[in-house]
Symmetry: C2
Subunit: 241 residues, 2 copies
């Protein structure tokens, strides 16, 4: 008999303390754009990403000669080498490099989950590799949506629903979590016209306003990468099974 | 030209500080069971309800001779006259009376919203009267879901979606809030078989475990009452337009 593992979806970093369990694996989700950018960087050969919470930390690393990606509210900070668009993290720029990274929502969520058993980075770009990795682990899962400044957002929730759906279909998981059911039902509403659904999200409109919405389609493409970035000794590295 | 008013849905009391605005009207929602019970009490002629946050306060009122309704985790407290089931608040028991009330999630949410422009109590039992009242007011709306111990729950979210849908259809409201879209989409998934959908919620299972699920059907009946309970001088009274 398979002992099924649990799935919880946490809709906001501000609710994470209700879900924290040091035995759970936490999947960090910030589809537009931090976790999609991180997965792109690994796909393009980055060696390590050091997520930092504050711009002050990011600046300190910059002064020591590190490559730094930093944005707030979608806009690249003037001292940084690049911002938060996955298109910045090209092979030419990142292969073999160490990058320091600070974003509005995503990197903060990573730091919140530090006391869990493992932190992995989720996006559509690596969703099947991620799902396989979670199936093979013997732990409950918390899918932590980075949201927008502690508010619920649709794009992270849809991804959570898509991933939860895959995990439940594997036969290795179960859930009694209302947020997980909600995420899966929203995914079922949106999945047949995902780009049409995303039109109404607040983040799509924020990005459009700043001419940064060119990445939305890319951030919803599946399985361009089979790499699962994982937190290890205060940085993100490629998971080696 | 109608200047449209905004609608936000807040999925948890723990997120309320992101939505608080002293110019907004807050609709408190705790379908299973606090706000359904409050609406039932007013329907049956209660004069006033005094919501209190702590059991200590409730006990003090009891010692002064007040009728007290108090529960935690669904179970009536031994010192109280009754618990949180709408079926407790019969005409015989409550008509003309003042009741002190303390529950796990609902009364706390009422107290959190005290600094808003107005607090009203929402349930399916009074949904059309509530919607009419909100259409006639010149304020933005925050629908505050009481949730379960600061976690998201489905039953409050479905009601929020149903109410938001009605308000948007009135032509007097608009929204740019992802939680509001999510609540409306979940409502659209659930509405044709609401009792079937509610089967999977955590609260339905909690109530069933304690043989308290007899109220679920009643709490989803619409428009048994045309009374909107409103916060006024630290108590709930019947709104007089």
């Amino acid at each position: 008999m398979i002992v099924k593992k649990g799935i919880d979806v946490c809709f906001s970093p501000a609710l994470y303390d209700k879900f924290h369990n040091k035995e759970s694996i936490v999947v960090i989700v910030d589809i537009l754009r931090a976790t999609s950018a991180i997965c792109t960087a690994f796909m393009n050969g980055v060696k390590t990403i050091i997520p930092v919470e504050t711009l002050e930390e990011a600046k300190k690393y910059k002064s020591k000669g590190y490559l730094v990606a930093a944005e707030r509210d979608g806009i690249i900070k003037s001292f940084a080498d690049f911002g938060n668009s996955p298109f910045n993290f090209t092979k030419e720029k990142v292969a073999g490099k160490v990058i320091v990274y600070s974003t509005t929502n995503g990197t903060r969520s990573i730091h919140m989950a530090k006391k869990s058993c493992k932190i992995v980075i989720g996006s559509y770009l690596n969703i099947d590799a991620l799902s396989d990795c979670l199936v093979n682990e013997n732990h409950n899962i918390v899918i932590l949506c980075a949201g927008w400044k502690d508010k619920f957002n649709l794009e992270d929730t849809l991804f959570a629903g898509c991933l939860a759906d895959k995990l439940l279909h594997s036969g290795h998981f179960e859930t009694i979590c209302d947020s997980t059911y909600a995420a899966m039902d929203l995914w079922s509403v949106a999945k047949n016209d995902l780009m049409g659904y995303i039109e109404k999200t607040a983040q799509r409109n924020r990005l459009k306003k700043n001419n940064l919405d060119d990445v939305i389609d890319f951030c919803h493409r599946t399985n361009l990468s089979d790499i699962v970035p994982v937190w290890h000794k205060n940085r993100l590295i490629r998971l080696v099974n």
